[in-house]
Symmetry: C2
Subunit: 110 residues, 2 copies
Amino acid sequence: MENTAENVRAQMRKGVLEYCILSILNKREAYASAIIEELKSVGMIVVEGTLYPLLIRQKNQGLLSYRWEESTQGPPRKYYVLSDKGREQLAQMDAAWQELVDGIQTLKQA
Amino acid sequence: MENTAENVRAQMRKGVLEYCILSILNKREAYASAIIEELKSVGMIVVEGTLYPLLIRQKNQGLLSYRWEESTQGPPRKYYVLSDKGREQLAQMDAAWQELVDGIQTLKQA
DNA sequence: TATAATACCTTGTATCACAAAGTACCTAAA
DNA sequence: TTTAGGTACTTTGTGATACAAGGTATTATA
């Protein structure tokens, strides 16, 4: 599982979702349902069965950690937090995303 | 195999490549190797084994047609041409792409 | 003590893209 | 004329992403 700039760009084609998760958690810690709500609010439909495995994957890669927190309205929540490694990954993905956007814009001109 | 605006956006998450192919063929007809070269020129590495099945898929969906053309430098080439249906699909994908770009920008603010 | 709501998790499936290998055509050199 | 090399198109097997659907567990309320 490499992590070159080229690999990041390859990952970008699939897995825009992974980029979105890191971007959300870069602003504030959050639990799964809140993440889904925020994604929906910008037009990205995501379901639980997609998000949970993704969060677990990112946690196993050391990009995230989590802590349990009691809720006043139901069962405890798993709040995810971006790690230093996650912030590095996010920086790489920011660059890759910008390159993709620029690349497509270039394609459409000419 | 539906084709709602929502479905287009879902497709966008994977399959940015499909969007790129239609965008290239919207400018001019082209054969596979030329398409690969143009994609490489904007930083998107694509290999034959990815592109050929994709072109066949799009042709089977009626988005493209092709014609054979003799080459002075080797075997004949399959030149792909965007169909009316392909142009419609491209217009939908243009909108979906813009929404995705806007959505991510919104995510990163706030 | 049921019931509903919230939250987390798992399994099976379809699709995308890649790696690797194969087929076919054309040209030029031996 | 046969061989080698380049160009172009195709197929097969694999890994990863996301979805659909269903399941488990906790909490509050009727």
